[in-house]
Amino acid sequence: MMEGLLAAEASWLNFGIFFLLAVVLLFVVLGFVTYAILAERKVMGFMQLRYGPNQVGGRFGLLQTVADVLKLLIKEDTIPKLADRPLFILAPVIAFTPAFMVLAVIPFTDKFYFADIGVGLLYYIAISGLTTIGIVTGGWASNNKYALMGGMRAAAQMISYEIPLVMSVIGIILLTGSLNLNDIVEAQKNGWFIIWQPIAFIVFLIAAVAELNRVPFDLPEAESELVAGFHVEYSGFRWAFFMLAEYVYMFAMASLITVIFLGGWLPLPFLGFIPGAVWFALKFTVVIFILIWFRVTFPRIRADQLMEFGWKVLLPVALANIFLTAILKELLNIF
């Protein structure tokens, strides 16, 4: 169905269908964000001997996030007097828009995807890099020293971790010969890339967590040092936009890890009768759970150590992985 649509001539009908599908995806993602936050709080609560939300919306706090968002919407929207007003208003939008744009290339199943771009992986990484600009802008425009430091940290961190992130997937590109995410999933029929590319997986996971600004790499927000980092002056729905962007990225990044390392919609052997969407959801959930688990377990790494780790450890390892993959590919000739 999707191939037909994507290949068809541009028309109002096509536009309408895509628009509708995009709205569906928007709701799926927003629904995910709503319940990912709840799940995060519940899992954290479980690991930290607490209950987590358990009042609003029945027994499990099912409407807790909805209530939180409503509260944020009706909150007073404060803009500091000396802030750079236009930039201050624009920053959350810049941070948030790419988060949704990257979702276009994620193949959720073999039939359900929005764009079949040849350079899908590159598109994802390029677009997600834009969010940094939003965060730096927000940190700068707030006219707050803590926000500025948070923004600067964010810039340094996200740029340095994007490089190992890209380098680690080059091994996979070598093996598949394509940047297209659909092709990458198809290439995993003989075994997921987590098995063929374990080093790349570890590097990618670490760099991904750093990209997501989550513990142990949550330096831009670093609650205990920078109070709240780049969004210290933001309140109400503008703040919600930053948070939304963060969780949509979590959704996107978990999807990407599922697609390039865990075989996307591909089933485990002998369990092919379960639909691809279920497999995708299962793998995706595992990745999300691991991200939450990280958050509960680790302390925060220090800014200078973070840089050192990125440039002196992750990058060389990722580069070595490229050579290793190339040599193995030539010698074994499996792909």
Binding site: E225, L226, T297, F298, P299, A303
Partner: protein
Amino acid sequence: MIRTEEMLLNVGPQHPSTHGVFRLVLKIDGEIITEARPVIGYLHRGTEKLAEDLQYTQIIPYTDRMDYLAAMTNNYVLCHAVETMMDLEIPERAEYLRIITMELGRIASHLVWWGTYLLDLGATSPFLYAFREREMIINMLNEISGGRLTFNYMRVGGVKWDAPEGWIEKVREFIPYMREQLKGYDQLVTGNEIFMNRVKGVGTYTKEDALNYSLSGANLRCTGIKWDLRKEEPYSIYDRFDFDVCIRDGGDAWARYHVRLSEIGESLKILEQAVEQFPSEGAVLGKVPKVIKPPKGEAFVRIESPRGEIGCYIASEGKKEPYRLKFRRPSFYNLQILPKLLVGQNMANLIAILGAIDIVLGEVDG
């Protein structure tokens, strides 16, 4: 050339990691601190001045509010000073109750430090684990004293209440439980690579520095100086217990971390022996005159609080109220080395260094 400017940054008094209303005025160059100036006094309540108009028993609740994480030791230092002046005899059972409550308080205080320090470093879970254990201690102290934080438990000449039925048993059961949890703490945090990188070699000072800045408690013992008043100048009945003074050599935050964690173990040892030797009956309040009037003169006593040496100086004119009361508050003295440690460090280390000193603002500001 890039033109850079130093930035003046105000950390606190409302900041998540200053552990209260502590303010630091920093000059920073990028993230590197070039100058640090602590500003204290936001929680100053004038305890010492207020005490001049109060009878000795009335001062005890004020001491609770100085180091509110280890109020029992504060209670004790005042009572101990008055008792020293009046040469009072303390009943055996009261001494044991004092030791048990003080050591429980010490464990609770170190647990709060452990949890909040890790929270400062960005790990959220240890805080909640530490507070689970602390809650048990607080509940026990609540049962015996009626208060969870400000106990007002000790009196000149003994303690206010006897232990309720089965209380000693609870303490006894707590000891093996706590030992088990300590292992878990080590597994979760101590071996963590990120944590080690955050604290090793951070905030290092030498023995000489420690002595010159008159640091005490874990801040002194982390440099390898074996000094614990419970051993060096045993007060109360500490000479009856077998325990070690925990020392480390590094002089950095990592050493301080280890000293505090192993001190929990040593406190458990003391508790174990105290519970064993606990006299089955006896009075808990000695023969004390109705109105406490220490003779004319002065006295200074010092004991080992979880944070260091806490001292109490009393100048008496033979009246119901002290002429002058002065506390040597360890947090205040320990904090003095901070500006020296901070220069040249970055913002993230600021938190690691300040947290490792273990201050309680109620005590710093008096």
